[in-house]
Symmetry: C2
Subunit: 386 residues, 2 copies
């Protein structure tokens, strides 16, 4: 078994109307709050007013308009606000983009230079402002992890940032996800599954966390279609929200081989160039990556996935099981209404070489993926997505 560190300092408060615990959860951190959010859906669902009412004793500054694939421009604005107003705590309300941006802002508040420096060189991340979150989209797991992903349109880069800025508390009320549109629900489900695949599909797993990963996948496979068909189904929204939080926190990864998260690496390149929805990119790339990685050595792992997640007959030959499991995955993403090729969403092969080069220069060692990947392999996988 591989060694591991596990540190999950976020207090998760999960359930309907748990927002009422916000004042108690915010109290230890101070009165000067930077409220961060996106395009205003939190106003439509009444959450904005509710927060203002609950925190009427606090001094609230706002950074709104944080975009999907959050851009360094928003982060620079946020950092400026923190420094100008001596902010004590960030309240991030939204999905992964708002939360990820808030992490970069939290670290930027104590950094003298441009916050993009922190993304380019994570070793520069030091002290950070405390963050409390209210989640409105089940997908990225940012509510329960210590990382974010930030885009820089000027340099066409989308890169991860890691630091000691896991949220101090996250309020998870599935009701806030009732208004998430079908396509975003589907993309979020795909993101949760991809986080799991990135850790599950390694050479040497671990019996305990293999089981955790398989339960994650079965849960999303059961509940995502229900949430898409019946957006106000509490059980389904709750199951996805709960699964979201465990995707990236480290729990699924314990005792397993290191994984360089190849599908996320490839997808980040594609959305750095095209700004597509992260989960959509993952839905297209995942089955191609799986097929490209399948061989006699890796077949048993895909076969295990097929048996324990899709209920395939364990007596079938390993390679047949593996192929069927990959087909099931591809069909499932299609059944959620997600695009299944780049051409469907207008992406051509123009930047594939640049993407592959940038990925190999800036990402973890893809030689450590389930099947080792070179720059040429990345280009081949991207071509298979067309």
């Amino acid at each position: 078994m591989q060694d591991f560190d596990l540190y999950l300092p976020t207090h998760i408060v999960f359930g309907k109307d748990k927002v009422n615990e916000l004042p108690k959860l915010m109290a230890p951190f101070g009165k000067k709050v930077l409220l961060t959010y996106g395009g205003g859906s939190i106003k439509k669902i009444g959450l904005y007013d509710k927060i203002k009412d609950l925190l009427k004793d606090a001094e609230i500054f706002e950074l709104s308009g944080i975009e999907p694939n959050p851009k360094i421009g928003s982060i620079r604005q946020g950092v400026k606000l923190c420094k100008e107003h001596n902010i004590d705590v960030i309240l991030a309300v939204g999905g992964g983009s708002v939360l990820d941006a808030s992490k970069n802002i939290a670290a930027g508040a104590f950094y003298d230079g441009d916050p993009w420096d922190l993304v380019k060189d994570n070793s520069k991340v030091g002290k950070s402002l405390p963050i409390v979150t209210i989640l409105t989209l089940s997908a990225t797991g940012s509510e329960y992890d210590a990382s974010g992903v930030i885009s820089n349109p000027e340099t066409q880069e989308k890169l991860p940032i890691f630091g000691d800025f896991a949220p101090r508390a996250s309020i998870l009320d599935p009701v806030y996800t009732y208004t998430v549109p079908k396509n975003q629900t589907a993309a979020g489900a795909c993101d949760i599954m991809s986080h799991t695949f990135e850790q599950y599909l390694v050479k040497n797993g671990n019996m305990l966390t293999d089981g955790f990963c398989e339960s994650m996948l079965r849960t999303v496979i059961k509940y995502a279609p229900i949430a898409i068909k019946d957006p106000q189904n509490y059980e389904a929204r709750a199951a996805l929200m709960q699964a979201s939080s465990f995707g990236c926190c480290g729990l699924l990864n314990i005792g397993r081989d290191f994984s360089p998260w190849p599908v996320h690496g490839i997808e980040h390149e594609v959305s750095a160039y095209t700004d597509i929805t992260h989960g959509v990119g993952l839905a297209i790339i995942t089955p191609r990556w799986m097929r490209y990685s399948l061989n006699e050595i890796t077949a048993p792992r895909f076969a295990q996935y097929g048996v324990n997640v899709w209920g395939l007959d364990k007596n079938l030959p390993q390679l047949e099981l593996a192929n069927k499991a990959i087909e099931k995955t591809e069909e499932f993403f299609k059944s959620l209404g997600l695009p299944s090729s780049f051409s469907e969403i207008g992406i051509d092969d123009k930047h594939f070489e640049d993407m592959a080069k940038h990925l190999c220069d800036n990402w973890g060692d893809l030689g450590l993926a389930l099947t080792p990947l070179t720059r040429d392999d990345i280009v081949a996988i991207l071509r298979n997505c067309l």
Copy 2:
């Protein structure tokens, strides 16, 4: 899905020789250390000397001789040491007994009265000293939770204590469990399984954490016999140690019906009167509790356990599956060499009525167990254990 809070502030550092990180992990808490341990096995395995060497810049006071089913007398001694020497941090090295005792001591250090008051009335638990642990026995999960169980021989009580004293860090090196004898390894495995059963076997589970629980059980069932046969098998010791930590931390419990942990309640009464090993009591009581709780309403849950953990044929009738699953459980505990009746270990029915009365007066609501239990039911289950 049921609401939940999840807060796991312990930093888990897992792997061979991770004790070398001790100075770094202890540094934030101060230089005056109370080192707590049991009967001296930590000296035999060289861990005591290693700690002394690693913490040579600290001022170390010692409380040794903490016994199994830790007694309030040891805790009183520990509290006295903390107060006399203005201890900054407790370093608890051992199994669940040492860790549980240290939690009561940590809270007692800031309490003016007798530390037994804190056990009798958990609302009196306030501020606590920070605790760092080094685990030497895989069983109780105390290394990753915020509770302990303390015995008072004067009153023949064994009761839980809860507080804000989850360890700040726990070092988990499976090698330290190589010398754990077969019977203690077996009892520990049974304890881990029982923690899982107490949360898994409720009326309404949760798809995600059902899967987590089933993976816990399969892992212990696979690796406990290996660890017993081959005590220095790293993989087996590591699998048990990893499973130990998730037993009581709250993870397995999320989104599920409340459980009053009936088997632990009953076992605590038995060991309060007889001082038997906790895991031995659980091995005897668990199958009897399962059989007593089995009926047409609860059969599907036991059947699910049989199919997903023991690999039984899902096409069998539910009641047959349930009975087979319980038989498998009983046979498994026997196969580990654990006693399977009270008479085997010299326990008679003399105190059963008193135990049942004390349990019903002092434990959570057993009316909320999988099958509701009254005082008479407890006596009946105890009689079935003879």
